[in-house]
């Protein structure tokens, strides 16, 4: 307690007194107003200004992380300071340092946007976030001595909290500028998306079902819109909807319907990748050859927003594989598994070195004799098994009962077995199952019916079964869901 008092006494001495305190506050107020007026004086007009602004501005992404780290350190030091007063002393210094960092990052950031001609909603939000944050940090630095002296105890914590909120907001906007606004949510599990209403806020392109909406827009959306979208409008060009795409940028139209060779957009994405004007710029991954071919064909045939097909281009519908849930870590059970399968002939094989990829039940060495009872012995490890190879084994319809408990099963091989499909409906709870091979069994169309409800089951093979007899002529059609 005594040390604490000492600290306060020392802090008191450091406080600006009398007239000087008023001067400091006045200067701070003036600076805040200046910062707030900055966007009005040097308007972000979407025009590029001078190279040196851009040269300096490009240090913004580098410098910006310094104040972020420092600001986050302040509350840590304040809290840790409860136990170790020396740390609290450091907090004041770090706070002042973070203000200087904020100011530097703000200026560089402004140069970047101003110099590069960046405009857009996210740019604006990021800019205001940075300005507000800088002002809050400044106010924090000024209010802290009061808090230390104990005269005004609530203002500083409140200001610091506001600064932290401003920090989160401003940095998130900055991240969206660099990585695109869906960077954080792209791989979010679907249930979480529903809870957080993520898709609710995502805009959808015009006339769904058209070639543009299905194939062209997604290319722009994932490769271009981060810089040419609502958030950031490089070169005055937006590609986030059909109308703005056709409007073009500050140099005019980028798409000339029917004339791919005069469409600037196509020219820019097909330049050599080290060319100054190559797009996507700044080392972002180039468009894939087939994507460029689709864009060319689409422009060639009129660049229509609504046409459903483009002649000469058929895009294989890549059935989107469902995201697989990782299985638990079985490494601890390995010893037990080894003992259990001793003498079995069947074995559990690791899919990869990563336990989350699961195990495969392999029976190929003992295929002829492996039966339902042996399968049941592996049930204990069912949660870790992602693939069961029962091709040409002695299992019967009785196996479905056991297999229903393999909740992480992704692929099931039953080709060449005696199953007829009675009991297949027991597999319905296996939501992860994507592959089912029933080739060369006696499975009948009627018994397959329950599989129709299994959404994720995309690859069903029924070659040479009553459900898909072999014509004897040329190659039989490969199986598909349409067989159901």
């Amino acid at each position: 307690l005594k040390t604490f008092k000492d600290v306060i006494a020392r802090a008191d001495q450091l406080l600006p007194q009398g007239r000087s305190i008023r001067v400091v506050w006045l200067a701070a107020l003036l600076m805040s107003v200046e910062l707030l007026l900055l966007p009005l004086i040097f308007k972000l007009d979407g025009q590029a200004h001078g190279n040196w602004q851009q040269f300096l501005g490009r240090f913004h992404p580098l410098v910006v992380h310094v104040p972020i780290g420092l600001i986050l350190l302040v509350p840590v030091l304040e809290i840790a300071g409860l136990a170790r007063p020396a740390l609290r002393e450091a907090a004041g210094f770090v706070l002042k340092l973070s203000f200087i960092g904020c100011l530097g990052a703000l200026i560089l950031g402004y140069l970047l946007a101003y110099g590069g001609g960046d405009v857009g909603a996210v740019v604006t939000r990021h800019m205001w976030g940075g300005i507000v944050l800088t002002i809050f940090v400044l106010l924090c630095a000024l209010a802290r001595p009061w808090w230390i002296s104990g005269s005004v105890s609530r203002v500083y914590p409140a200001l610091l909290s506001c600064a932290l909120l401003a920090l989160v907001w401003a940095t998130h906007q900055g991240g969206s500028l660099t990585h695109g606004s869906n960077y954080l949510t792209q791989y979010m599990p679907a249930p979480m998306k529903q809870i957080l209403l993520v898709d609710y806020f995502q805009s959808s392109p015009a006339s769904s079902g058209s070639f543009y909406a299905m194939h062209i827009h997604p290319i722009f959306d994932s490769n271009c819109v981060a810089c040419h979208g609502e958030g950031k409008i490089k070169g005055g060009l937006r590609l986030d909807s059909y109308d703005v795409l056709m409007k073009g940028g500050k140099d005019g139209a980028v798409i000339v319907p029917g004339k791919p060779e005069s469409s600037t957009l196509l020219a820019r994405v097909t330049l050599p990748s080290d060319h100054k004007q190559f797009m996507p710029a700044d080392g972002k991954p180039p468009l894939k050859p087939e994507q460029i071919a689709w864009i060319r064909a689409w422009i060639q045939q009129g660049a229509s927003p609504s046409a459903a097909t483009v002649n000469g281009v058929t895009i294989r519908e890549e059935s989107k594989e469902p995201t697989l849930q990782p299985v638990g870590d079985y490494s601890g059970m390995m010893h037990e598994i080894l003992l259990m399968q001793q003498g079995q002939g069947a074995k559990l094989v690791q899919v990869s070195r990563n336990p989350a990829d699961g195990l495969v039940l392999s029976t190929v060495d003992v295929a002829g004799s492996f039966d339902d009872a042996q399968l049941a012995q592996f049930q204990k490890y069912a949660p870790y098994i992602v693939e069961v190879e029962l091709g040409r084994t002695a299992v019967t319809n009785g196996c479905f009962d056991t297999l229903a408990k393999f909740t992480n099963l992704r692929a099931l091989h039953l080709e060449g077995t005696g199953v007829t499909g009675v009991g297949l409906q027991e597999l319905a709870p296996l939501t992860q199952l994507t592959y089912l091979n029933l080739s060369e069994t006696k499975v009948t169309p009627a018994n397959l019916a329950p599989l129709g409800a299994m959404k994720n089951l995309r690859h069903i093979y029924l070659y040479n079964t009553p459900a898909q007899p072999v014509s004897g002529a040329d190659a039989a059609q490969s199986a598909s869901r349409s067989a159901l």
């Binding site: 899919v351 990869s352 080739s439 190659a475 490969s478």
Partner: protein, 501 residues
């Protein structure tokens, strides 16, 4: 038991034991012995070393590599090797503008300072020989394919066609070694051996890596193909490819002779194994263990190979798909059918060799024969794998060691021409687990001479194959001659993302 070996010789052998072998062995023998008793003869890790419990597989065990590095898209691969160098211009790389340039000299700017083979470097002229065959567009992708490949053309939508494959070698031997082992000089392990070493066996009763040679057609210009191409190099010889003969018994002396039943055979093998174990104890050469496991494999193959080669239960649809030729052992179609049967039975890697693509002359006479021999088999294999649900996790590769020149070797006439070796670009294709179907990757110039876009050198090609099988090519290594040896060699290689699904 003492072997009848002169003591002096034995001492000499013992002195050959390297420091590395010694330390590798002392550390591991105990561990392996413990593990072997624990496993009771069965591996859980999916690599062959635990399953072959006859001791350490070699001075370095692949188990330490912890493969696969990530979940593989393909569990197994079938490699259709077109030895000799198929002419990309006549099969895949459509250059309609060449027709107008018939018998014109190829511009020097295209050829550059390239050193040619001795077979054409003395030619006064390099006259352009446009393809004799027409091309048409096929499939939903509208891919151009020569009239020579009517069957393959039907499945272009499933293929990943690489027009920009290129190699550093211009002659058969170095080029075919480079494709198979990643090095032009013999002595390095081939792709199949690396896979056997790294991923191990899926079926203990059949070799992990099998090789099928197609019967030689004497009309064609056949380049030699031999076991150096499926050699395990410095890896233990149990990872070498096992070839099936193209006529007669698939494996010589596989069936027991009259009067020797299976039990007698077993007893004999047990005795031989015991002697081999003693030799190993005495000399510590890991190759002794390889020999023991090969004896055991041969014993198991006595039952597994006849079952593998028994085609009597194949349905009629098989023959209508592969064609009647598939009934005759040694034909390409037969080998394709066998490759499918091996895939079903858990053979990790099957390589089918077809020789005769070395068309230096008489292209119009030879090429139709070569295509007729192979086209249907390729199509049948891919289609068969697809309809049986095997293509999802099987990678199929079609490749030669290089391409052929646009200019004619020897005389050029409207009816006939020849084509020399061409390393700078050639066309290959893949399909199945891990690769993106329905695309054509890479572009060549107007003369099908240089790659102008997305080149795929051999090392990148091989890195991509390994990637499909769940292997990081930089992590599948073996210490030898002071180097972490790998299939892709020392020049940095990279997986080609554009080829991946």
């Amino acid at each position: 038991m003492d072997l009848p070996i002169p003591p002096g010789l034995k001492q000499e052998w013992a002195a050959f034991e390297t420091r590395r072998q010694f330390f590798g062995r002392t550390g591991k023998v105990l561990g392996w012995a413990a593990l072997a008793s624990l496993l009771g003869g069965r591996g859980v890790t999916g690599d062959a070393h635990a399953a072959n419990t006859n001791g350490p597989a070699g001075p370095q065990a692949a188990g330490d590599l912890k493969l696969p590095n990530f979940a593989p898209k393909a569990k197994r691969a079938i490699y259709l090797f077109m030895s000799g160098g198929p002419p990309q211009i006549d099969l895949w790389d459509y250059k309609p503008n060449l027709a107008a340039l018939y018998n014109k000299d190829i511009p020097d700017s295209v050829r550059g300072a390239q050193q040619l083979t001795g077979m054409t470097s003395g030619q006064a002229r390099f006259p352009i020989a446009p393809s004799h065959w027409a091309f048409k567009r096929y499939g939903k992708t509208g891919t151009w394919v020569s009239d020579l490949l009517p069957y393959t053309a039907r499945m272009v939508d499933d293929l990943t066609i690489v027009k920009s494959t290129n190699t550093d070698a211009i002659n058969h031997e170095p080029a075919i070694m480079l494709m198979n082992t990643g090095n032009m000089n013999a002595g390095k392990p081939c792709l199949g051996s690396w896979l056997a070493y790294g991923l191990g066996s899926m079926n203990d009763n059949l070799p992990t890596f099998m090789v099928l040679q197609t019967k030689v057609n004497d009309k064609e210009n056949n380049q030699p193909v031999s076991s150096r191409l499926w050699s395990s190099g410095f890896l233990s010889s149990e990872y070498a490819g096992v070839g099936l003969r193209s006529s007669g018994d698939p494996v010589l002396y596989l069936s027991d002779p009259n009067g020797v039943d299976r039990e007698v055979r077993r007893k004999m093998l047990d005795a031989v194994n015991e002697i081999n174990h003693q030799t190993y104890e005495e000399l510590g050469d890991p190759e002794t263990n390889a020999r023991i496991s090969q004896y055991e494999m041969a014993y198991r193959m006595q039952t597994s190979v006849p079952e593998l080669a028994d085609l009597s239960k194949e349905p009629q649809s098989t023959w209508s798909l592969y064609g009647p030729e598939a009934m005759e052992p040694g034909t390409f179609a037969y080998n394709c059918l066998m490759a499918r049967r091996m895939a079903e039975r858990g053979v990790r890697f099957t390589q089918v060799y077809k020789r005769g693509w070395d068309v230096h002359g008489n292209v119009t006479g030879l090429l139709p024969i070569l295509c007729q021999e192979t086209d249907r088999g390729c199509y049948a294999l891919v289609t068969d794998l697809k309809q049986r649900g095997l293509l999802d996790d099987t990678l199929v590769i079609w490749a030669g060691e290089f391409g052929r020149t646009v200019y004619s070797q020897g005389g050029l006439s409207p009816e006939n021409y020849g084509r020399d070796h061409h390393p700078r670009c050639y066309t290959t294709w893949m399909t199945g687990g891990g690769v993106r179907p329905g695309i054509t990757y890479g572009e060549t110039d107007d003369y099908s001479y240089n790659v102008v876009k997305d080149p795929v050198p051999v090392r990148d090609f091989n890195a991509t194959l390994l990637h499909c099988l769940g292997i990081d090519h930089n992590k599948l290594t073996y210490k030898f001659q002071g180097l972490d040896q790998k299939l892709t060699g020392t020049t940095p290689a990279s997986v080609v993302p554009g080829l991946l699904a």
